[in-house]
Symmetry: C2
Subunit: 326 residues, 2 copies
């Protein structure tokens, strides 16, 4: 939650002169997004978000992300629409960084998603998958199972410092996940969001109003996107004292919302426990990396990996899709 | 630049139910304000800013700040207007903190103020002083010269670590400022902003469009507010390599803009060098306190006090108001 790049008056003025979006009336840094600098930009024509891409995003991936949003917007799927400059290019440069202006999306991100919101989100995710069926570009999932050993390597000690015995748990999980990963290779593939946490989804009251932040999007099993959402939306941290609990009713709502728009195959349904376990491992490992790479006295605390160790325990003991409400 | 308090869905919904401002359509943390948490709030009726007051603001002062903005708004002076709830009270509570919703103010804060903007700012400051002439509430300036010895005490070593010999410079300045401080006691007094840096002033193109962030406002010499602005707006850090320079043309524009709306008396003009020196000392000392109280490896770096030591050197050698363009 930060603004890394300060935009000077002259730089902003020169940048906006490349567009036909009117004169600026407001420009405020937004405390959202861990990876990039985001500004609320209002002109006499409309409201926008200006994003400057910081070093954690690979500039070579940006045309993919921009095209993906353009494709969705052209299909009237609610997401930020990249605004082209006068020369037609949406991806530009500002303050020495790649930068883009996108349309402003109405809606609020839920902090404690309700069951109806989970159903709406499932349906929204399925609509996104369908809208991207004919999106031609591809991008490998750089945080898939093939990356797990590299992320884990040298971090067993950190895991055991977080919780005694955690390292051997994780190593057993990694073996299971990596040996089983070909099971999902035959599942329907397509473009997935891969990071659809509640802060990346917008709602107006209980109605889904759109999706933002596509900077982990990639080509993978569609049901894996659903598995990420089950991890992100269907664990109840209201009861954090007794450990995170899977909320069967939230999970079932999410799955049925998805299934109503894009019916899940039996194979996708059967793969859900493994896909959920894989997704939990991905977020456990990246959080563990951030945890061990951040100095202990830093003011910005990384997210605790243990929340995902708790999810892994649930997935490890799941006997089948019925445990998830599928 | 942070959002300290996260507002839960239920808390926001319950809070907005106390108002008649419509249903929320957007809610985003803003990376502005060091002291408080600020959110951009859009409803189906209008745009607003929601502020939660964190511990650095004394809750006992809040009614003063709210009344001051209500007074200004009632006089059509451009500033955030506190929005009352259904019961008429603007100062409420959210997430255990005092909270207020204010109207959204259009405009951009300049990072490198231009000379025309300095003139506009001077005129805007004078308009604010006139609009507050009949504001009945008072608040002592808790960061006036009487506070300086307390802020300085025990920090000579930190000053000398920043720059060898700085501590003795500051001690000589403090003696001068404190012995001369009664000179300004006879100047016209009133309600001052006391923190009118460029990030607290808004412009639309080159035209002044309003003032925000009144949380240092207090009762003091009106010309002291002008002196604070001269420190904040009329030193040129484009040439930072060779030290900060006073920009005579920016300063003269600011003073003449002010004088055109509220003519300065000879006594106010004569007091400007001392008032400027006092203002520079106030910001030097509070920055020095933040500097020595922040751990060296913190991610959020405090502002460097040396920028104000450089201003103090200019003020120390000023021979009269003509050096400022007054």
């Amino acid at each position: 939650m930060a603004v890394y790049t300060q935009v000077d008056d002259g730089a902003l003025e020169a940048f906006l002169a490349e567009y036909e979006i009117g004169m600026p009336r407001s420009f405020k840094g937004i405390a959202e997004g861990v990876e990039n600098s985001n500004y609320y930009l209002e002109t006499d024509q409309d409201r926008f978000i200006l994003t400057l891409f910081e070093k954690r995003v690979d500039a070579a991936d940006l045309p993919y992300f921009i095209s993906l949003k353009q494709h969705l917007a052209a299909k009237a799927f609610p997401c930020p629409r990249p605004i082209p400059g006068r020369d037609g290019a949406a991806l530009r440069e500002l303050c020495g960084r790649p930068a883009v202006i996108v349309s402003f999306l109405d809606g609020l991100s839920p902090r404690q998603p309700s069951r109806p919101q989970c159903r709406e989100l499932g349906a929204g995710l399925a609509r996104m998958h369908l809208a991207l069926e004919d999106f031609a570009m591809t991008r490998a999932n750089s945080l898939g199972p093939a990356s797990f050993q590299g992320l884990w390597s040298g971090r067993a000690k950190t895991a055991d410092e977080l919780e005694t015995g955690l390292a051997s748990e994780i190593e057993a999980d990694l073996k299971d996940i990596i040996s089983a990963r070909t099971l999902s290779a035959h599942l329907p593939r397509g473009t997935i969001h891969a990071d659809l946490f509640p802060d990346n989804a917008f709602f107006l009251d209980e109605s889904f109003s759109g999706i933002i932040d596509f900077y982990f999007a990639c080509t993978d099993a569609l049901a894996y996107d659903l598995a990420i959402c089950l991890n992100a939306w269907a664990f109840d941290d209201a009861q954090r004292a007794s450990g995170l609990q899977y909320s069967y009713s939230h999970g079932a709502a999410l799955i049925s919302g998805y299934d109503a728009v894009r019916p899940l195959s039996d194979a996708e349904r059967a793969a859900l426990p493994l896909l959920c376990r894989t997704a939990a491992m991905r977020f456990f490992l990246t959080r563990l990396v951030d945890w061990s790479d951040t100095p202990p006295d830093a003011l910005v605390k990384p997210k605790n990996p243990l929340e995902y160790a708790q999810r892994l325990r649930f997935h490890r003991h799941a006997t089948g899709p019925a445990d998830y409400g599928a």
